[in-house]
């Protein structure tokens, strides 16, 4: 896999280095994104996975500079050689929508309700590609056909309320890919849709990437969504990357207890019916003025005293430079198993979370 990484590095389109975004509030600063780095080659699809509040949407919005004005962002974002963190608003407008586009979670509210969908597509064609009205209209019809909207020439005059949710998300995709961007940020593009539509939309996005060599960041809380459609997965928790690896490898082997917990939370068909769904105990942490220490420690069955006062660095696996994780007691290692056994014997972890007591400490490890 090292060779693949080298191949990518020749064609890196997006570099995010040590990006942090926080929101000052009366209760303290909310560190939504905390030192995240990410490198994306053209044509590559990276999945960012995490619970609500893990910072994945804020990360995407920080890249797009779409965060509220109160937000403070530090770190470097470089797109095709240009530093996005320092671009002027005017330079930025030549990049957003043209080179980097974004699809949002809720297609029901992401389209302007009082504007015909044709106009919403043609406005970026006219702005960025300087097409005239007739050409922009022709191109908009092509785009609607491309994303699978029947009778595109008639639908161009439709208002968003006349379309179903799936159709609206297709319109949003058509809007996003209108100017053939080199990078697409898809922020939970299927979360608001029916399961049957989800698959169509995800397949459409994957096809667009392979046809146009467009890179994509696919943000989701559902590991099942990223499984077959991404090249690499980045798992986020509490604003930090806790594990990242090529997708095929992550589903075979993972080190971070949070990744393990997410994977075991996917319902599996091969399990007997009425099997209890595995849930992660506790709730996502508040990241107001965080202290040092692993963000996941309060919910982790392996947490040791060290986890509660020291930040685990993101380090590569001993045998795989492409597989990075941030954990002192990783899953599938002897120190990790020992930590889990010790906690099970006393019935609590170092952060004080209660756990079922197991007399010999050798219960089934977390299902993976």
């Amino acid at each position: 896999m090292t060779s693949t990484r080298e191949l990518w590095s020749q064609d890196i389109i997006l570099s995010v280095d040590d990006l942090s975004t926080w929101f000052p509030t009366p209760f303290g600063a909310v560190h939504a994104v905390d030192g995240v780095s990410l490198h994306l080659a053209s044509g590559e699809i990276v999945g960012i996975v995490g619970e609500s509040g893990s910072g994945k949407s804020v990360l995407a919005r920080s890249i797009m500079k779409l965060t509220p004005e109160s937000a403070i962002t530090r770190g470097e974002v470089t797109f095709a050689g240009r530093a996005l963190t320092t671009v002027s608003p005017a330079e930025g407008r030549a990049i957003w929508g043209k080179e980097i586009a974004m699809i949002f979670q809720n297609p029901m509210t992401s389209l302007n309700p009082v504007m015909k969908i044709g106009k919403q597509i043609t406005e970026s064609l006219k702005l960025h590609l300087r097409l005239n009205t007739a050409d922009a209209r022709r191109r908009a019809i092509e785009l609607l056909a491309l994303v699978g909207i029947p009778e595109p020439a008639a639908r161009i005059k439709a208002y968003p309320y006349e379309l179903s949710g799936g159709m609206r998300q297709r319109v949003c995709i058509a809007m996003a890919i209108a100017c053939a961007p080199r990078l697409l940020l898809a922020d939970e593009p299927t979360t608001a849709l029916d399961v049957t539509i989800q698959r169509q939309i995800l397949d459409l996005l994957a096809d667009l990437c392979s046809d146009t060599h467009m890179a994509m960041i696919l943000i989701t809380h559902d590991l099942g969504v990223v499984a077959r459609r991404t090249d690499r997965v980045m798992v986020m928790y509490g604003g930090r990357v806790v594990e990242t690896a090529p997708t095929v490898k992550l589903f075979v082997r993972h080190f971070h207890p949070y990744t393990a917990a997410l994977l075991s939370a996917i319902p599996r068909l091969h399990r007997p019916s009425h099997t209890r769904l595995a849930a992660i105990p506790g709730r996502p942490i508040d990241i107001i003025d965080p202290k040092p220490g692993c963000r996941f420690a309060p919910r982790c069955e392996r947490a040791q005293p060290r986890c509660t006062n020291e930040d685990p660095p993101l380090t590569p696996a001993s045998d795989d430079a492409a597989h990075l994780f941030a954990c002192f007691y990783p899953v599938g290692t002897s120190q990790g198993d020992e930590a889990l056994r010790a906690n099970r014997l006393v019935g609590r972890n170092a952060a004080g979370m209660a756990m079922p007591v197991v007399s010999n400490g050798l219960a089934e490890p977390l299902d993976a």
Binding site: M64, L66, E69, P89, G92, R93, A94, I95, W96, G97, K98, A101, M102, F104, N106, T109, S110, L111, N112, P113, V114, M115, E123, S124, L127, H128, Y159, Y161, C172, M175, A176
Partner: protein, 316 residues
């Protein structure tokens, strides 16, 4: 849509009947006798009696009201006691003055309020927002009878920019006409500027929180086109309602402004008519004003359907 229009029309007729009945009743209950206003205080009882018979004032109230209605149905608003002209011709002479005043006022108010409201909403609590709130709260607390003397003091007496009173028809001399209308328009537009700005600001603040504004920003659109192309139209419902309803308020304020600047408009006409108990003229002007008001409200209802295409689907 046909049923919708029909229902609206019936509604309008009922409102207008109520307005005309209430006006007639109030005129009847008002102390004072038009006969004395016409003949003078020294009129003999016999002369008053014969004038009452001539004008039909000796008949009971409901007969006079019915008579007036049936004339109205034939398009006849009667003849003014004071001017000895038909009420409709008096209204049509005064109307251009008031119409120019109100149309210019609405245009000026919108031209100021739209950018002000939208830009205040862009940064809530910012300099534009706070400055706007400060200035418009002064405007809203200065009714014409306070603002007019102030304006006259500054622009007429101190700087000698505009004439104090009087009127020149637009057709006679467009420049003079505009000179005479500037101060009345300013005086009349202070309140609508403040009200329109506040309404548009609060709607725009809400619109700017919407997801589709985020997707417009993600398209790389400029702030200006996001504000005016994406945010303005879905934010203008309160503004449109207010602009339609403010027409009634404006006609009311125009009465005072026209009187203070001696403009020969509808306002001056109705004041002189009330002073001399010119019953047909008062009834006619009130009726005319009510028609304008009701028609404007219906027009606003129809404009909603333009602003929000979703409403076009609903059955009224």
């Amino acid at each position: 849509m046909g049923r919708y229009v029909a229902r609206k029309l019936i509604h309008m007729v009922v409102v207008l009947l109520l307005v005309s009945f209430a006006t007639s009743l109030m005129l009847d209950l008002t102390p004072g006798d038009p006969a004395y206003a016409i003949l003078g205080d020294q009129a003999t009882p016999a002369a008053v009696k014969s004038l009452h018979q001539e004008l039909g004032l000796d008949r009971p109230f409901y007969v006079r009201y019915g008579d007036w209605l049936s004339n109205l149905a034939r398009g006849d608003l009667g003849t003014s006691y004071e001017y000895k002209q038909s009420v409709s011709s008096l209204i049509s002479q005064a109307l251009p003055v008031t119409a120019e005043l109100i149309v210019l006022t609405l245009l000026l108010a919108l031209a100021i309020a739209v950018p002000l409201g939208v830009y205040s909403a862009r940064r809530v609590g910012g300099i534009v927002d706070r400055g706007t709130t400060f200035v418009t709260s002064i405007f809203v607390s200065a009714p014409p009878f306070i603002s007019v003397p102030f304006l006259v003091f500054l622009f007429v007496l101190t700087w000698h920019i505009f004439p104090a009173t009087g009127w020149v028809k637009f057709g006679d001399s467009p420049m003079d006409n505009l000179q005479h209308i500037v101060l009345p328009v300013i005086a009349l537009s202070l309140w609508p500027v403040a009200a329109f700005t506040a309404a548009l600001r609060s709607d725009t603040v809400a619109t700017l929180q919407e997801d589709f504004i985020l997707s417009a920003r993600a398209k790389g659109l400029s702030t200006r086109s996001i504000l005016f192309r994406h945010a303005l139209r879905p934010s203008s419902f309160s503004l449109m309602t207010l602009a339609g309803l403010s027409l009634g308020t404006l006609i009311g304020s125009a009465v005072i402004v026209e009187y203070l600047f001696a403009l020969p408009g509808i306002g001056s006409l109705i004041i002189s008519a009330i002073n001399v108990h010119d019953i047909p003229l008062v009834q006619g002007v009130v009726m005319f004003t009510a028609v304008v008001y009701v028609v404007m409200n219906t027009a606003v209802d129809i404009l909603y359907r333009y602003l929000d295409p979703r409403l076009r689907m609903q059955k009224a």
